[in-house]
C-alpha cells in the first residue's frame, strides 16, 4: 500500500463530496450563492411565464422601417419594465421581429395585449382636426380624484404642447374636445374655460389598475408601427415546477442505473469512472451556474443525454485498457497506452457531435437553443473529465496498490 497515493485519492473524493453538498444544500445561512444550483436560471417552461414573438406589420400610414422597429422595441422595453416583471427579455430577431419573455406573471394574456397596444393619443376638435398628440405629452399619472372618488389619468403636456392646449381651449370654449386613443373616442368633455397650465384629466376608469395601465401606455409613448402576435406560448407555474420535479427524478434514476452498470461491468475502473461521472455532473452544473445558463426542459434532456455520452469516453478508454492488459502490458503502461489510443477516437467522435450541436444552436430558437448549449457544454466537459480526471485517478489507484489483480480491471 502506498499511503500518499491513497490520501490523494481520498482527497479527491472528499472535495467532490463537499462540492456535491454545496450543489444542493444551503450550507452557510445567509450566503446567497449556496446551493449554487440556485444560480442556474430557469427557462419559462420550468418556472412558468409567457413567450411572445411580435412582428412589425406594414400599414399604409406606417410602413415598417428599421428605425421604427427599433423605436417600437424601446417602447416595448419601457412597458415591460413598467409592468414590474423580474428579469424580462426583450430581443430583436431578424429585422422585423421582437421576442418578449415575461416570467411569473399573473395574467399573461392581458399583459401581452397591453404590450402591443399602439397607444396613439390624439386630441380632436369638433371639426375633426387633430390639435395635439401623445408626442407633446410630458407625463401621465393615474390617481383617484378626491372629489368624485373615481380613478382618472392626469396628463401633463410639454411647454409647446401646453401652449397649443391653452390656445385650443381658449378658441373652443363651449365646444367639445375629443380624447381619442387608438382611434377610439374615450371621452369628449365640453370645454368650460381655457386651460393655460397644460394639464388635463381622462376619467372615469373602472379601477385604479385600469387607469394605471393606460398611464403606463401613454408614458411609454405610442408605437410607431403595428405589431402582431405571431406566436405566443404560455406555461402555467404548476406545469413548470411539475416538469422540473419529474425530470430531476428521471435524471437521478438514470444516473443510478449508469453508476450500477459501470461497477458491475468494469469493476475498479468502473468505480473510477463513476467518480469521474459525479465530478462531471458537478462541473457542468458549476459551469451552468457561472455562465448563468438558462435551463429549459429540452435543456435538461440535453444535459442528461450528455451524461450518457460522458460515460462513453470512459467506456472507450476501458475497452482499450482491457486490450492492453491482455496483450501483456503492465498495469501502468496499459493505462498510458489505453489513454493515448482512446484519445484520438474520443476527440474525433466528440468534434462531430459538437458540429451537430453548434448547427442546432445556430438554427434553433428558445428552448432548442438551450438544448444545444447544454449539450455542447456537456460534451466539452465530458472530454475534460474523461481525459484528465479518469486518467489521474486511475493512475492513483494503480500506484496505490489498492487493486493489483488485472481481473479487477475486467481483463
Amino acid at each position: 500500500m502506498k499511503w500518499d497515493k491513497i490520501l490523494k485519492l481520498l482527497g479527491i473524493i472528499l472535495v467532490t463530496a463537499v462540492v456535491a453538498v454545496a450543489a444542493v444544500k444551503p450550507l452557510i445561512p445567509g450566503v446567497q450563492w449556496l446551493p449554487f444550483t440556485n444560480l442556474i436560471k430557469q427557462g419559462l417552461d420550468l418556472k412558468g411565464g409567457v413567450h411572445v414573438v411580435l412582428e412589425a406589420m406594414d400599414t399604409p400610414d406606417a410602413p415598417v422601417t428599421a428605425d421604427r422597429v427599433k423605436q417600437a422595441m424601446a417602447i416595448i422595453e419601457n412597458r415591460v419594465n413598467a409592468f414590474g416583471v423580474a428579469e424580462p427579455v426583450v430581443q430583436m430577431e431578424g429585422s422585423r421581429r421582437i421576442i418578449v419573455e415575461l416570467a411569473g406573471i399573473d395574467n399573461p394574456d392581458e399583459a401581452v395585449s397591453n404590450l402591443i397596444k399602439t397607444a396613439y393619443l390624439e386630441f380632436k376638435t369638433e371639426d375633426g382636426k387633430t390639435v395635439l398628440t401623445g408626442r407633446q405629452l410630458k407625463d401621465a399619472v393615474a390617481g383617484i380624484n378626491p372629489q368624485t372618488n373615481q380613478a382618472e389619468v392626469n396628463l401633463e403636456f410639454e411647454p409647446d404642447g401646453a401652449k397649443i392646449f391653452a390656445d385650443v381651449t381658449a378658441q373652443n370654449v363651449g365646444r367639445q374636445l375629443a380624447i381619442v386613443l387608438d382611434g377610439n373616442v374615450i371621452q369628449a368633455p365640453a370645454i368650460r374655460e381655457p386651460i393655460p397650465n397644460g394639464r388635463a384629466q381622462i376619467s372615469p376608469y373602472e379601477s385604479l389598475d385600469e387607469a394605471q395601465n393606460i398611464a403606463i401606455l401613454l408614458r411609454s409613448g405610442s408605437l410607431p408601427v403595428k405589431l402582431e402576435v405571431m406566436e405566443k406560448r404560455t406555461v402555467g407555474p404548476t406545469l413548470g415546477s411539475d416538469s422540473l420535479d419529474k425530470s430531476i427524478k428521471a435524471g437521478i434514476a438514470g444516473l443510478i442505473a449508469i453508476l450500477a452498470f459501470m461497477i458491475i461491468y468494469y469493476r475498479v475502473p468502473g468505480l473510477v469512472a463513476n467518480l469521474a461521472l459525479v465530478i462531471y455532473t458537478l462541473l457542468v452544473l458549476l459551469i451552468f451556474a457561472a455562465l448563468h445558463v438558462t435551463m429549459t426542459l429540452p435543456g435538461i434532456a440535453g444535459f442528461l443525454l450528455s451524461l450518457g455520452m460522458a460515460v462513453d469516453a470512459n467506456i472507450i478508454i476501458y475497452e482499450r485498457l482491457k486490450e492492453e492488459i491482455k496483450s501483456g502490458k503492465t498495469l501502468r503502461s496499459a493505462i498510458d497506452a489505453g489513454f493515448k489510443r482512446a484519445f484520438v477516437a474520443i476527440l474525433d467522435s466528440n468534434v462531430t457531435t459538437l458540429i451537430a450541436a453548434a448547427v442546432l444552436y445556430y438554427f434553433g430558437t428558445g428552448p432548442i437553443k438551450g438544448f444545444a448549449l447544454t449539450l455542447s457544454i456537456g460534451i466539452l466537459a465530458s472530454m475534460f473529465t474523461a481525459i484528465t480526471m479518469t486518467r489521474w485517478s486511475l493512475h492513483l489507484v494503480a500506484a496505490s496498490n489498492l487493486a493489483r489483480n488485472p481481473k479487477l480491471y475486467g481483463a
Partner: protein, 300 residues
C-alpha cells in the same frame, strides 16, 4: 474460453446484404407511410392553438368535446393525459375565443387551471420546416468535411448515409405510429445525427488504426470485420448507458418532453445499429466500386 471478439462468430462485411435488407425492411414501410399519410405535424408546424388544462374533478373527453362543440370546434384533438389533465389542439384561435372557451369549461365543470396555452401563426411553421432542413443540410455538409479531413471523403459519405438512415427510421416510425412532431422533435433529430456519427467515428477510428498495422496480405473486408468485433463491446455498452437515461426520462420525465425522448430513443438505437451494420459495410462497397474500373482497365 475465447471471448466473442476473438471467436468472431460471423463476418460483418460478408453478411452485409443481410444487414442492408433488414434496414430496407424497416425504412420502406416508413417511407410509404411518409408519402401516403405524412407526419402528424403539431401546431409548431401547422399553426394553431394548444391548451393544456387541469380540472379539479375527473371528467371525460366527451364532456370536454361537448363544450368545444359550442364554439364550432367539434373536430378538435382532445387528449387526456391524466385523470384531470387534458391536451386540446385546435385551429388558430384569437385571444378572445381562447378565454371564452376556458370560461365556458369553467362554468360547466368547475375550476380550471391553464397549465399551458400556445398559439402559433402559420408563417412560423413554414419557417421551422425550412430551418430544420437547413440545419440538417448544414450539419451533414460540415460533418462530411470534417471526416474527409480526418479520415477520407468516402468514409464521410458512408457516415452521412448511415445517419440519414437513422433520420428516416425515426421519421418513418413517427409517421406509422402517428406520434406528434413538434419543434423539440427537430432538436431530437439533430441530436441523433450527432450521436450516430459519434458512434460511427469510433469504429472508423479503429479501422484507421488497424489499417496502419495490418499484416501483409490482409484484405480490407477482414480488417473491417476485426475492427467491428473489437469495438462491439464499446458500441453496445455506450448505447446501453444512453438508453438507460432515455428510458428513465420516458417513464418518469412527464408528458411535455415525451415525444422528444421517444424520438431520441428510436434514433439512438437505430444509430447504434447503423454505425455497426451500415456505415462500414457501405464504405467497403464504395471502396470496391472504386477499384473495379481500374481492375478492368488493367485486364484490357
Amino acid at each position: 474460453m475465447l471471448s466473442l471478439r476473438e471467436r468472431m462468430p460471423f463476418h460483418y462485411v460478408k453478411l452485409r446484404k443481410f444487414w442492408y435488407l433488414i434496414s430496407l425492411l424497416l425504412i420502406i414501410p416508413g417511407l410509404i407511410s411518409l408519402c401516403s399519410q405524412g407526419l402528424n405535424l403539431g401546431i409548431d408546424f401547422t399553426g394553431g392553438n394548444l391548451l393544456e388544462l387541469r380540472f379539479n374533478q375527473a371528467i371525460s373527453v366527451e364532456q370536454v368535446r361537448e363544450v368545444l362543440g359550442n364554439f364550432g370546434l367539434e373536430g378538435a384533438s382532445i387528449q387526456r393525459s391524466e385523470e384531470t389533465d387534458f391536451l386540446i389542439r385546435t385551429r388558430e384561435l384569437n385571444e378572445e375565443e381562447n378565454s371564452r372557451i376556458v370560461q365556458a369549461l369553467e362554468d360547466k365543470y368547475g375550476e380550471v387551471t391553464v397549465l399551458r396555452s400556445e398559439r402559433v401563426g402559420p408563417v412560423m411553421g413554414r419557417e421551422l420546416i425550412f430551418k430544420a432542413l437547413g440545419a440538417l443540410a448544414a450539419a451533414s455538409v460540415l460533418m462530411i468535411i470534417y471526416i474527409a479531413w480526418r479520415f477520407e471523403f468516402k468514409q464521410g459519405l458512408a457516415a452521412v448515409i448511415a445517419l440519414l438512415h437513422d433520420v428516416f427510421i425515426v421519421l418513418g416510425a413517427f409517421s406509422v405510429f402517428r406520434f406528434e412532431v413538434d419543434s423539440a422533435f427537430v432538436a431530437a433529430i439533430l441530436t441523433i445525427i450527432g450521436y450516430s456519427i459519434n458512434d460511427t467515428i469510433v469504429i472508423f477510428d479503429r479501422i484507421r488504426e488497424n489499417l496502419l498495422n495490418k499484416k501483409k496480405g490482409e484484405i480490407l473486408e477482414d480488417t473491417i470485420n476485426v475492427s467491428l468485433w473489437q469495438t462491439l463491446a464499446r458500441s453496445i455498452n455506450t448505447v446501453l448507458t444512453v438508453v438507460m437515461i432515455l428510458v428513465a426520462l420516458l417513464l418518469l420525465g412527464g408528458a411535455t418532453i415525451q415525444n422528444m425522448v421517444l424520438a431520441l430513443l428510436i434514433g439512438v438505437v437505430s444509430g447504434a445499429y447503423s454505425s455497426i451494420f451500415i456505415a462500414s459495410p457501405l464504405w467497403f462497397d464504395m471502396k470496391r466500386l472504386e477499384k473495379q474500373p481500374k481492375a478492368r482497365a488493367a485486364r484490357a
